[in-house]
């Protein structure tokens, strides 16, 4: 009896001590989230979800939005969480190369079946079985691998508990990006990864003690590696100038520019920064050299071009004749 009392007191003291020793200053209230499922055609690689509310708020920082995760319990279905309150979505894939039209979901969970870009069914009744996967915050693991490493993938886990992020080795295939880096999203509990390739034929050693923050890992042919938490490409790129000609009626044109697919924006908020009209007849603006996508807009963002992909690190000449008629050149076009 005495012993059990002592143990009880000891446990209580330990609990009190633990609460004293590490006290959180603020308890973060988790925002409510809505889940959207999508089933996409086989040639739609790495599907993403783009969502927004009627008041103009976007769920994600930049196009093409949040990369969707495959649902392990429902083959062929992908899912993505977004903050509750979004009214419409677009499902896209192949780096935004294919996409559906806008579909209203009116702040509800939705199941979207995409047969083709034009043929889409939206359901608000569960089309999948079992519980939805729990929401997990994620970060991106980027890898730049030796050319002999084909189809790289990442295997991720929490050390030392051994909790794995993916169901089976070699883990998640990494998405190739235009800048030569591969990427994969992993949950924030992950603190160790392995980069592998050639169907698991080559791999790095365990890359441990990672922080749950976007990380860039460079891997040599022999599997040796180094990593940094700063985007190496972001450091390298020098500023470029975007020259533009806008059609009549486009007052005070602005440029919106970003890096696709990581979604880093060059400017704080839409419609971006105004261009300056020069004596040479061109509007112009200097932007960071790492951007690879632009939109020219005007009249306070009420008219705009579509998303225009551009080459990284080169001055751009953009001739816009109408919202859907824009020509990109990298040398000043003849009149």
């Amino acid at each position: 009896m005495k012993l059990s009392k002592r143990i009880l007191i000891l446990l209580l003291c330990t609990a009190v001590l633990a609460s004293v020793c590490a006290t959180a200053v603020a308890e973060e209230v988790a925002p409510e989230r809505t889940i959207v499922y999508a089933q996409v055609p086989d040639d739609w690689q790495y599907p993403c979800l783009w969502a927004w509310a009627d008041d103009g708020t976007s769920a994600f920082a930049s196009w093409p939005g949040e990369q969707m995760e495959p649902d392990p319990a429902n083959a062929g279905w992908y899912y993505a969480y977004m903050p509750t309150g979004m009214d419409a979505v677009i499902v896209n894939a192949n780096d935004g190369g294919v996409q559906t039209s806008d579909y209203r979901i009116d702040k509800q969970n939705a199941w979207i079946t995409v047969t083709s870009a034009e043929e889409v069914t939206v359901s608000f009744e569960a089309q999948t079985t079992g519980e939805a996967p729990a929401y997990t915050e994620r970060f991106t693991v980027y890898a730049q691998v030796d050319p002999s490493w084909e189809n790289p993938g990442t295997w991720a886990w929490e050390d030392p508990s051994g909790k794995n992020a993916f169901a089976a080795w070699p883990g998640r295939a990494m998405k190739p990006n235009e800048n030569g880096w591969y990427s994969a999203r992993v949950p924030v509990f992950v603190n160790s990864v392995i980069i592998n390739a050639n169907n698991g034929g080559v791999q790095t050693a365990d890359i441990k003690e990672l922080d749950p923050a976007d990380v860039w890992i460079t891997v040599a042919a022999d599997g040796s590696y180094d990593f940094t938490y700063e985007d190496p490409d972001m450091l390298k790129a020098e500023d470029i100038t975007v020259y533009a000609k806008a059609p009549e009626g486009w007052e005070a044109p602005c440029l919106w520019a970003w890096s696709h697919p990581d979604g880093t924006n060059a400017f704080q908020s839409w419609p971006g920064e105004p261009l300056t009209f020069g004596e040479d007849g061109w509007y112009s603006i200097t932007v960071p050299g790492w951007i690879n996508s632009v939109i020219l807009n005007a009249n306070a963002g009420t008219v705009q071009t579509s998303d225009l992909s551009v080459e990284v690190g080169r001055d751009i000449y953009l001739v816009v004749k109408a919202a859907d008629d824009a020509v990109i050149a990298y040398e000043e076009p003849a009149e």
Binding site: V20, C21, A22, T23, V25, A26, V188, E209, Y229
Partner: protein, 407 residues
Amino acid sequence: MKRAMIRIILLCMLAATLTGCAGGNSDSSTTAPKPVTITIWHDKEDAVADVLQKALDALAPDIAVKLEKKAGLTEALKMVGNDKNAAPDMYWFAHDKLGVYAEMGILAPIGDFIADEELADYIPMTLRAGMYKGTRYQMPLYFETLLFLYNRKYMKDADVPATTEALYGYMKRKTHGGHYGFVEQHSTAYYSAGWLHAFGTEVLNAQGQPHLDDENVINALTYHLKFVELMPDETEYATVNTLFREGMAHATLAGPWLVPTLREAGIDVGVAPMPVVDETGLPLAPYSGVQGLHVLKVHAREKKDAIMKVLTALLEPQIGTDLALVSACAPANGKCYGDERITSDAAGMEMRRTAETAVPMPNLPEMDVMWTVLGNLLTDVNMRGQDVAEAAAQAQRQAAQLIEAMR
């Protein structure tokens, strides 16, 4: 004609200059009784000052308390501290300058207005801070100490290092790729003094004599060096705090004033006790700054009753609580810790615990030169790679020379 005009104008200017010097001395005497005005100089933000102003407005109509924000308060007090026409009745500032003013002879002892028994509930550290050569010169209101802050995104509560060796191991594992396991202003005297205190030493003894060449100082600096090697090269406030605020550092030592900024930046910030140095068994013991009221001698006698009433009003725990909350500090009055608003403030409660080991910044006049000397010593050891013992001996010589130069 033109010359004559110019002469007239210039003569007028001369006359105006001379008469301007004379100044008006109008007699505006009135027979109506006036409230006693107590002027308090301070350098606080308006929001903080407003709390005290509102609390002391309750003394009206007999006493009118006027809080005046004074730029360059410490220098202004040196200039006019004994000038009946210009000096305030009291000033509100940290305790660390009171030794200078006590030596200048412009301060009145708090004991002339408030008996020590009235302060029985106050945290002992805050009372020690206000003592100079055996006399109390400060009525403490609230205090601050450095805190061990950590980013809970990176450092889990269970991983918070309890000892400095655990911290070092953590830093070695986590410092890579532009992220740091732990950052501090490693070569700044105020931020690094905690390491010296954890080795049982101080930069000045009670008599104001420096002992920077003390064996414990050398041991502390030598031990601290291996941590510095895993930190950024810069020691300044902006760099260190930016690293933590931008999610590039897992943990840091910082004052409570940083916590609101961190919350705004979206950092899930945790507060933990200072790690204990394995070798000595003592925790890092940072300096503490105690904010409070000081009475100037110049009007102390003629306004004794009013000053007494002002100080007595400040014994009210409610005022201490309100001031501590608005200034993101911890109250000096122990009675305030019965208030749920205080007990639910994790940073404030951690400062309360740290107050048991924290060292009040020395209020000796000699400390004025020690900030620079200790800063130089830390820079020489941590940033120039100078031999610790050699640098300490050099710093001791400089400290002795400067202290000698003070007299």
